[in-house]
Symmetry: D2
Amino acid sequence: MINIGIIGSGYWGPNLIRNFIAQDQTNVLAVADLAPERLTFVAKHFPSVKDLYVDANQIINSKSIDAVVIATPVSTHYDLANRALDNGKHLLVEKPFVASTSEGRALIEKAKKKKLVIGVDHTFLYTGAVEKMKQLVDSGDVGTPYYFDSVRVNLGLFQHDVNVIWDLAPHDLSIMQYLLPESPATVSATGISHFGNGLENIAYLTVNYSDSLIGHIHVNWLAPVKVRRTLLSGSKRMIIYDDMEPSEKIKVYDRGVDFVKDREDIYDMLVQYRTGDMYAPKLDPTEALSKMVDEFVGAIEGNKAMRSDGVDGLKVVCLLEAAQKSLAGGGVAVEVETV
Amino acid sequence: MINIGIIGSGYWGPNLIRNFIAQDQTNVLAVADLAPERLTFVAKHFPSVKDLYVDANQIINSKSIDAVVIATPVSTHYDLANRALDNGKHLLVEKPFVASTSEGRALIEKAKKKKLVIGVDHTFLYTGAVEKMKQLVDSGDVGTPYYFDSVRVNLGLFQHDVNVIWDLAPHDLSIMQYLLPESPATVSATGISHFGNGLENIAYLTVNYSDSLIGHIHVNWLAPVKVRRTLLSGSKRMIIYDDMEPSEKIKVYDRGVDFVKDREDIYDMLVQYRTGDMYAPKLDPTEALSKMVDEFVGAIEGNKAMRSDGVDGLKVVCLLEAAQKSLAGGGVAVEVETV
Amino acid sequence: MINIGIIGSGYWGPNLIRNFIAQDQTNVLAVADLAPERLTFVAKHFPSVKDLYVDANQIINSKSIDAVVIATPVSTHYDLANRALDNGKHLLVEKPFVASTSEGRALIEKAKKKKLVIGVDHTFLYTGAVEKMKQLVDSGDVGTPYYFDSVRVNLGLFQHDVNVIWDLAPHDLSIMQYLLPESPATVSATGISHFGNGLENIAYLTVNYSDSLIGHIHVNWLAPVKVRRTLLSGSKRMIIYDDMEPSEKIKVYDRGVDFVKDREDIYDMLVQYRTGDMYAPKLDPTEALSKMVDEFVGAIEGNKAMRSDGVDGLKVVCLLEAAQKSLAGGGVAVEVETV
Amino acid sequence: MINIGIIGSGYWGPNLIRNFIAQDQTNVLAVADLAPERLTFVAKHFPSVKDLYVDANQIINSKSIDAVVIATPVSTHYDLANRALDNGKHLLVEKPFVASTSEGRALIEKAKKKKLVIGVDHTFLYTGAVEKMKQLVDSGDVGTPYYFDSVRVNLGLFQHDVNVIWDLAPHDLSIMQYLLPESPATVSATGISHFGNGLENIAYLTVNYSDSLIGHIHVNWLAPVKVRRTLLSGSKRMIIYDDMEPSEKIKVYDRGVDFVKDREDIYDMLVQYRTGDMYAPKLDPTEALSKMVDEFVGAIEGNKAMRSDGVDGLKVVCLLEAAQKSLAGGGVAVEVETV
């Protein structure tokens, strides 16, 4: 059994606790949170968790804990993670991995030396929807990728320690990076902060790959409805991934681009709604987090790297940092660090 | 009766012909098109049109024609329009108005001198949906506007003389300009051309207004489904305008932003789909083009300026030009000419 | 050329006129309507129609007319049709064919003797959607049909000469009859008349076929939104036909019924939204009415019977009559006349 | 504290366990299920439940248990409930309440004598959606109710001890009964059993109230997608309740019926999608089951009857019994027992 300690039990924490309890090879020994009422919540819902701490150090320094899960604000990730590595713990870190690329590089180096696992909780990579997209891209069904366009929009709510890019874009950036075969060259970002706190609540990121591949991400805290909609378009097929759809999250459209020569044909097409057949494949309904927990366990046991390890987490941070710089420069293209 | 000559009878031309025929105070005397098969089409569907010409000059030089409608590729607008003004014709020009701001300024000046009307066919301004949005903004129901975000995406089809910005963005830019009370300061644009012809088929425009207002437009010829979806968000209410919805094109959401203080409240909100009541007002179902034709007639009769006159058309061209420059500069913010 | 006279130019009449004008082998010589303002409408929109009459007899008795199209209230169909046949005209009759099975039998007999064509305007049979469903049933893709369930619901509007069954159900009954391989045995109908005129504005029809096939139709004039949604389910596949969907009218679901043995599997399925892959085939976008007009012309030229000839029209009337009797009997099952 | 024993831990049981654990005034002492693997499931997920039994009698006979929750197949309800009442336990029974009206009457009588509470788990009555509909009906906003039409359709899955009417229709019948101010007079039911076991898997129920009110319910186990869609229409407003909609479950349409006099107006309306404004009120997001558990506790404490007590449960059984008889009689109208 792998003994787990979880630091941070806010919005997402209980999902981590629940899945580590359900995993056959892990034991949740302890949970830490600065807020006593969150510990009361954990005690009530997860009576099997033995130790509840206000002080995260009791987890980091515990002899009996093998792996530490960090689900706290990003500004605290590096320090907690670094000390946990020092104490020989494997790590699973909530997204975004860290607050800067230098922090990320340092942690990866240290983990490598100490042969410890770092996983980053890019949950979406483990959904049936993203797995299906990955398979469609890798099999060549999509053809040459042309663009990745993602909208992630939340309900008029914010009170955060980071801007909307660092809060929401890691989801889209991790999916994009996982699916696309190329490495990003530059990022151009624009955005706005409406509430005088200097934290953007709306942002638009253009990620430039090569001459024939582009990514774009729209993240927004100030919307009337939740939208999570991604278009992935290639030379052969186009995919719409709508995470708000209950039953048809992935739609695959058969035809790509048409070079229509005849004017009349163009007029016909302009009044149509789509071209080609569409199909909506059945997706694996397994909870994404449970698959991630399984991969984390597998990585610790030395079987196989996670699909979202520290390096993947760092790549996302490289994109976030470039976006942040571009935002400061009024949208100018900023080079993305390579990992 | 106002005698109308229509130059260009491609995809949109027949709609113009039909509406000018239906208008009580106008007569469609002549239609010109370089393609004889389009003239055959017009002859069959609009037998009341007397004269069909291959040569547009026969319309421009006709003594009996009072107003010329130009529905040709944008590169030809200036020359046709300029000569029509010289011959004392009123003008209705398809969007985008002209290919450059200097062309637009010259035409507006000449029309002013000769007391001729210039209208630009920004059809969307005349839809029940945009009229309702205008009313909600002007009445203060929306509160202080925070952002305008529009997606206009077409079916994997292109074979055009201009890039996707000049083709599709005029719709969104004209709506945005009509609705928002401020003037745009700068534009940052990114995009890509997939097919080696140097014409972008995907583009993203950020339009920066003041510190608290931003616009963004996503135009794309390479999508599996048609999308026309606009979010207009203010301090009091948020509007979703989905032009593909058959019956509920406009949805108005009651609540704007929340500053939630309590962590538990935030967790609750994160799992909700929306906040506040929504209502979908009944919209005027009158065909937009027929209202535009009525306003064009009214302007000629000296009653009232059109909501889309030459100046409005020019403002859109100023935005297009700035976007084009930003695109060339890798997304750098470019100042928008004032009109 | 086949010379056409059209009697009745109400809601649907102009569509018939337009399509007969567009057909290469037909000529619309005359249109008749009791209401002069409808003739004015026809004159304005279809200037090529030579003769406009208030009196339908001028069409029925015209020497130059080869085929008569009847688009008047159903109570007038028999008399107009009977006299047109007497004068040697081919017939295309708006749905429902006639007001009683005896009227229908008499017309069919007479047409047979005089070798004249009777077509019934069951337009939906000519849509790309119904054609695709027909193909999926006939090819065996659907497997053994299990049920046909259709909802056709209109906007709180009525002022009719017949009840909602005779007004709306002919659409569904004709589609059902066209698709299903069996003949209906009995009909049970229930319904209600809200407005004291004795005409039901809501009705439910159960059409019993054999032991393993059932049909059900819900027609309603009193709904807040238009619904046209049909489920056709078989042992292998299930089809949803939603005519209000702009782009995906037909969805085909891969899996039929499951006999799940294990309780846990059942619990899993209860929380799922669907089973199996779905695909939405591209449909023929040709206007249905133009295909029907083509088949009518083909039938007159002796090539091939229409998919909606007099016999098909009569079969629908048999179902309507049985439904009417069941309604009077409080829902008791009433045998359907065989044709 | 009220000590609870729960008999049956199948699909729905865990939800009951979870909510009774979460309720402040209740304690889940014991759970019984014939299947040992379900008890293992309970042990894992609800470690706070002390006693797990294969034999339900250990709950019924326990001295320390105050209230028994019965979530077993309906055929066992009467016997378990009857003996629990004999032992002085309050009862919460899963829907449908019992297998016959005589069983229901006997239980209600006994509970009355012994001053014990009977609740029936008509969960939907406690949803924010049904609460909002109730409020709109009771306030007069809907006007005189005209019809209630409900479709409840499940995924090609069945292996049940009862037919689809007894399985699914209790939901719709309980909602209908809760919302409508009249008592039902007769029921006409049709249906079919596809799989040779004599249990209908599709059924249609017409519930006749007075001359101006009708109900209809379509229940079906054999569908490609889940549908839960109810129309409630009145003289002033119409409501659509779509339980599959994530964010807009209730839509209220402003206008009811129109008596349009003018033919042209009718033609206009025929091409529209709806009439009047629509609004989608924000609904109470509290879990329905937790509100039901609260009301059950309140009823035991003598505060207030539940909105779904034994009498309500019996009324639903009266409708089910009438439907069953009508089905056997080929759809003939069968009188509904009064309670």
